[in-house]
């Protein structure tokens, strides 16, 4: 059994314009010691899914209308607020995109780390301090003892993110959820942070749910990738398999839209684009959600029903009527 199992999670938002189906039937699993990359563009629901799993999604206006999330067999969606708080501190660690807004600017680093340690592990102030220095060392923050007295704004973005990671792993969680952990960082620091997460994963046998929009990040850091679109998972496979043989037109398009770093004639070439925009989650089309933008959509099944997630190859799931490998002789729609 996987450490984290999510079955058909559905989270809807009650808004003035109607019900927004932000997460509509998401199933995934992460094993100990593995990283699942959840990738998608803004508005696809990946962050909402993570927040729903940990009970952090604001209710109201959100409602978890269906599905379950299980951590080590324990159903998170059935827990009360107090219990969820304990789980969040001790079993699930979370890091977010912008460390500047996640850290309290008026408190020192030491105060914030120690607070977490004392709250969840019940350590004495001295023990908490000692452990805090140890943690900051584990996330490779230079000169950790001195850093305890610093305020967040003194540190650079990369260092702040390391502090966030330290806070997240302080209580030895089994699962780490990282929501766009490197997006706000420079490219050279990004690699360092991803390396750090990888090292921690191996040393502590943590499971990591890595949420990002960046295909390059999942290429490096994820063992398995799930692609989200309009509140649903549209493709899931081992990373190498996904990049070598993408099946869903959206995945193909995402990969095609990335500007290339190497090659000739890049200046004059146009980037492949996906026409149109993601659907309005409050007014979803009846059939396949990607159909309006899909170059292969036919007037047939695509418009009538939402295709189910099916296993096209062992370990490779896709939700589409016209996966790439079955498209051999089909002409793309103009």
């Amino acid at each position: 059994m996987s450490l984290l199992e999510v079955h058909e999670l559905r989270t809807h938002f009650d808004t003035r314009r109607g019900i927004v189906k932000a997460v509509d039937g998401v199933s995934l699993s992460v094993d100990r010691g593995r990283t699942l990359g959840l990738v998608g563009e803004s508005g696809c629901g990946k962050s909402v899914a993570a927040l729903s799993i940990t009970g952090l999604v604001p209710r109201p206006p959100a409602r978890i209308v269906g599905g379950r999330a299980l951590l080590d067999g324990r159903e998170l969606t059935a827990l009360g607020d107090r219990e969820l708080e304990d789980v969040r501190g001790r079993e699930i660690g979370m890091i977010f995109q912008d460390p500047m807004t996640s850290l309290n600017p008026t408190l020192t680093i030491g105060a914030q780390v120690c607070e977490t340690l004392r709250r969840h592990l019940g350590l004495s102030p001295r023990e908490a301090r000692r452990r805090a220095v140890e943690l900051l060392g584990q996330v490779r923050l230079p000169d950790p003892a001195r850093r305890l007295g610093d305020h967040p704004h003194v540190l650079s973005g990369g260092m702040r993110q390391r502090v966030m990671i330290a806070l997240a792993i302080a209580c030895e969680p089994k699962l780490l959820i990282a929501d766009e952990p490197t997006t706000a960082l420079d490219v050279t620091i990004q690699a360092q942070i991803l390396d750090l997460l990888d090292e921690l994963r191996r040393l502590r046998r943590m499971a990591i749910l890595l949420i990002t929009h960046d295909m390059g990040v999942v290429a490096e850091a994820a063992d398995e990738v799930a692609v989200m679109y309009a509140g649903q998972i549209v493709e899931r496979a081992e990373t190498v398999e996904l990049f070598d043989h993408p099946e869903h037109p959206y995945t193909e398009a995402l990969l095609g839209a990335l500007p290339r770093l190497e090659g000739r004639g890049l200046r004059s070439a146009r980037l492949a684009t996906i026409p149109g925009r993601p659907p309005d989650l409050a007014a979803l089309p009846p059939g396949c959600r990607f159909a309006p933008r899909c170059p292969y959509a036919g007037a047939d099944a695509c418009a009538d029903r939402t295709p189910a997630l099916r296993e096209i190859r062992p370990g490779h799931l896709v939700r589409i009527c016209h996966p790439a490998s079955e498209r051999a002789r089909r002409e793309p729609r103009a």
Partner: protein, 284 residues
């Protein structure tokens, strides 16, 4: 490139005074955001200015546009030395030099209608009549791929990509020769990014524009630039034709930067990671 030199920057320096701490503590040294750089842009050419945060690239853009006053150096545009141009003459120069900003949510006044936003440069310079301006606005919206009914709406009704198009329409209003693009696609999703980059390329080709294209994303810069300059800590460490620099980076910082850019190729990324673990490659 074949064209004449449009913009020539020499010895550009921009210094910011350090924050004042307590009166009895010694004043920290002023911060040199831009520490003396030179570059040129010819007609019809696109120069990519690449660097990480704090490298001074955005400050450079603001100095070129005279939105910030350079501490030292020259900015020569269309034969005029901008740092010594004031008042009405500077205003007239602005017609040829425009900017597209990074943040599509902050660069448009949320209380103004789109047609007013796009027409503002025309109004400021007294170009045409109200009717001809309206027609021009519709023309511009069409050029950037927006429907004419967008004119009557307000920014918050549009997505990030669409707002960026509005910003581009505004920049095109006065038919400038050079557009400074300050991280124009950094806040956009990949698929929208591609649309905007294609649009910028098309506009360059169709209208004979020149770009100073600023970004931290090496792959994005590659798609749009003829030549590139790499900035670090306020200085240009390497410059040259894009193809050459990307293929054979001379400076170690450029190499480190290129080595760190994520590519959507799992095997390559794993190989890089393994190298880093073994400590054999440059830190990145």
């Amino acid at each position: 490139m074949s064209g004449d030199v449009l913009l020539s920057v020499r010895g550009l320096v921009k210094q910011f005074p350090a924050r004042r701490g307590a009166p009895w503590k010694a004043r920290a040294a002023p911060i040199r955001a831009v520490a003396g750089i030179d570059f040129e842009i010819a007609e019809g050419e696109s120069l990519g200015l690449v660097g990480e945060s704090g490298s001074g690239k955005s400050t450079t853009a603001y100095c070129v546009l005279q939105l910030l006053t350079p501490t030292a150096g020259e900015v020569c545009f269309l034969g005029q030395e901008l740092t010594r141009t004031r008042g009405e003459r500077l205003r007239r120069m602005r017609r040829e030099l425009q900017i597209v900003f990074q943040d599509p949510y902050a660069s448009l006044n949320p209380r103004m209608r789109v047609d007013a936003i796009v027409a503002e440069p025309l109004e400021v310079h007294g170009v045409g009549s109200a009717r001809s301006r309206r027609a021009r606005v519709l023309e511009l919206l069409d050029t950037v791929g927006l429907d004419p009914d967008a004119a009557r709406r307000r920014p918050h009704e549009f997505s990030g990509g669409q707002r960026q198009r509005i910003g581009i329409a505004r920049a095109l209003a006065l038919s400038p020769r050079l557009i400074v693009c300050d991280e124009p696609v950094s806040a956009l999703d990949v698929s929208i990014q591609a649309q905007i980059l294609n649009l910028l390329s098309d506009l360059q080709r169709d209208l004979g524009l020149s770009y100073l294209f600023i970004s931290h994303d090496l792959a994005v810069v590659r798609a749009v630039s003829d030549r590139i300059a790499v900035m670090r800590a306020g200085e240009i460490v390497e410059a040259g034709r894009a193809d050459d620099v990307y293929a054979n980076p001379a400076h170690e910082y450029t190499r480190a930067l290129l080595a760190a850019v994520p590519v959507p190729d799992p095997r390559r990324m794993r190989a890089r990671r393994d190298e880093r673990r073994r400590g054999t490659s440059a830190p990145g």
